[in-house]
């Protein structure tokens, strides 16, 4: 019998529900397509969605069941602490290399304690959040707001490209640069990049899985609901009409592609520079 931590069990259950819902809705869409047969592209999209949903379900279970690296030597009570630390580090200004280094050190500390038969709370105090904060500060002060804005910009560029690519595939347009989408997509993409994704990342880092689902469903419903209200009661207002009817192309040429790549690289460089500066500016604690 595979022994999972309580947190892993919760993640498996809720992710399975989400993937299940995705598959069910895809099947409903497929049945709808069978009745209407309105183009082959929809069928292919459905097949791709179901394929990726199944692959992600399998990968998710493998990732949770198969503990990676040295943490696999840890007993459940030690692994639970390791898992909490790993999740909390995900939502930080630390780079992937810094996080990997910390987790390697933590697994060594925990294994040593396990070997000496010391209880886990004698190694890491009960206040894990405070421990994480002190680890973050050991890399110097980093302005979280600026990091979040830079990450938001990166998210936005990523979302923009994915959405345009998806519409290109669905509509089967001649050229990627001719793809148009509703102006109303723009606030949605901003909301997703600067609010929803960081919020979800924060909730995952705090292992608040139920709140994660509530926030996801709540924010999407709020956005769709407010749009629907606007459409119903504000259709006479000029800007509301423009908001719903105007079609625009975001990535319209190679020039824009180059600009987007430049922005992406610059935001990465800014993060790298800020990390370097925070370490350089550290002073003695006495």
């Amino acid at each position: 019998m595979i022994s999972l931590t309580r947190q892993s069990k919760k993640i498996v259950i809720f992710s399975s529900i989400l993937i299940g819902l995705l598959i069910i809705s895809s099947i409903i869409m497929f049945v709808f397509w069978l009745n209407n047969r309105s183009g082959n592209s929809l069928l292919w999209i459905l097949i791709v969605i179901i394929f990726f949903a199944l692959i992600s379900a399998v990968l998710m279970i493998i990732l949770i069941v198969k503990r990676r690296g040295y943490s696999s030597f840890l007993r459940n009570d030690y692994y639970e602490v390791y898992e909490r630390i790993a999740a909390a580090l995900e939502n930080s200004t630390l780079s992937i290399f810094e996080r990997k280094e910390i987790l390697l050190d933590i697994s060594e500390l925990l294994l040593q304690a396990q070997e000496k038969k010391r209880p886990v709370n004698s190694v890491i105090e009960n206040n894990i959040e405070d421990f994480i904060e002190r680890i973050k500060l050991s890399y110097g002060y980093r302005n979280g707001i600026v990091f979040n804005i830079l990450s938001g910009i990166q998210n936005l560029l990523f979302v923009l490209t994915i959405v345009q690519a998806a519409i290109y595939l669905i509509r089967n347009t001649n050229s990627f640069f001719e793809v148009t989408m509703g102006l109303m997509m723009l606030p949605y993409m901003f909301l997703l990049s600067f609010l929803l994704l960081p919020l979800l990342k924060y909730l995952i880092s705090r292992q608040k899985i139920i709140w994660f689902i509530i926030a996801l469903v709540g924010l999407v419903s709020l956005f769709l609901g407010s749009n629907e209200l606007l459409r119903r009661f504000g259709s006479n207002i000029a800007w509301v009409q423009t908001y719903f009817e105007k079609e625009i192309t975001f990535i319209s040429s190679w020039f824009i592609v180059i600009i987007l790549i430049l922005v992406m690289v610059l935001s990465w460089l800014a993060k790298w520079f800020m990390r370097r500066q925070s370490i350089k500016k550290m002073k003695a604690a006495w």
């Binding site: 690296g69 040295y70 030597f73 910390i102 390697l104 050190d105 933590i106 697994s107 060594e108 500390l109 294994l111 040593q112 304690a113 070997e115 004698s122 190694v123 890491i124 105090e125 405070d130 421990f131 002190r134 680890i135 500060l137 050991s138 890399y139 110097g140 370490i279 550290m282 003695a284 604690a285 006495w286």
Partner: protein, 109 residues
């Protein structure tokens, strides 16, 4: 003793620099040494961020060596910058200790 106060952490930084001065050391050994020296309620979770900070500030150098437990163990050794900082700490500590002693002697006797 509240081990996480800024004062204690500052003092611990100096003590850890002193412990690592003579020999290459690893986290667990440093925690044990601190406990033996009277910091009996010290946790690894207090010492680890300090070690990390000292390393990032360039006061320690680190090297990973294989360990039978699994993950390669990180060994710390003091750098020249660390030696200068240790000397500075020792001087400041002497002044603080003398000042506190004078006040306590005058006020408590």
């Amino acid at each position: 003793m509240t081990e996480n106060t800024q004062l204690i952490r500052g003092i611990l930084e100096g003590c850890i620099l002193a412990l690592v001065r003579k020999r290459e050391s690893y986290g667990y050994w440093i925690v044990e040494k601190l406990r033996e020296s009277g910091f009996s309620d010290i946790h690894e979770s207090t010492v680890y961020p300090i070690l990390n900070r000292l390393e990032k500030r360039g006061l320690f150098m680190s090297k990973r060596k294989p360990s039978k437990l699994g993950p390669p163990r990180k060994y710390y050794s003091i750098s020249n910058k660390g030696l200068v900082e240790l000397e500075r700490f020792a001087k400041i500590w002497k002044i603080i200790r003398n000042n506190v002693d004078i006040i306590l002697r005058e006020e408590l006797n």
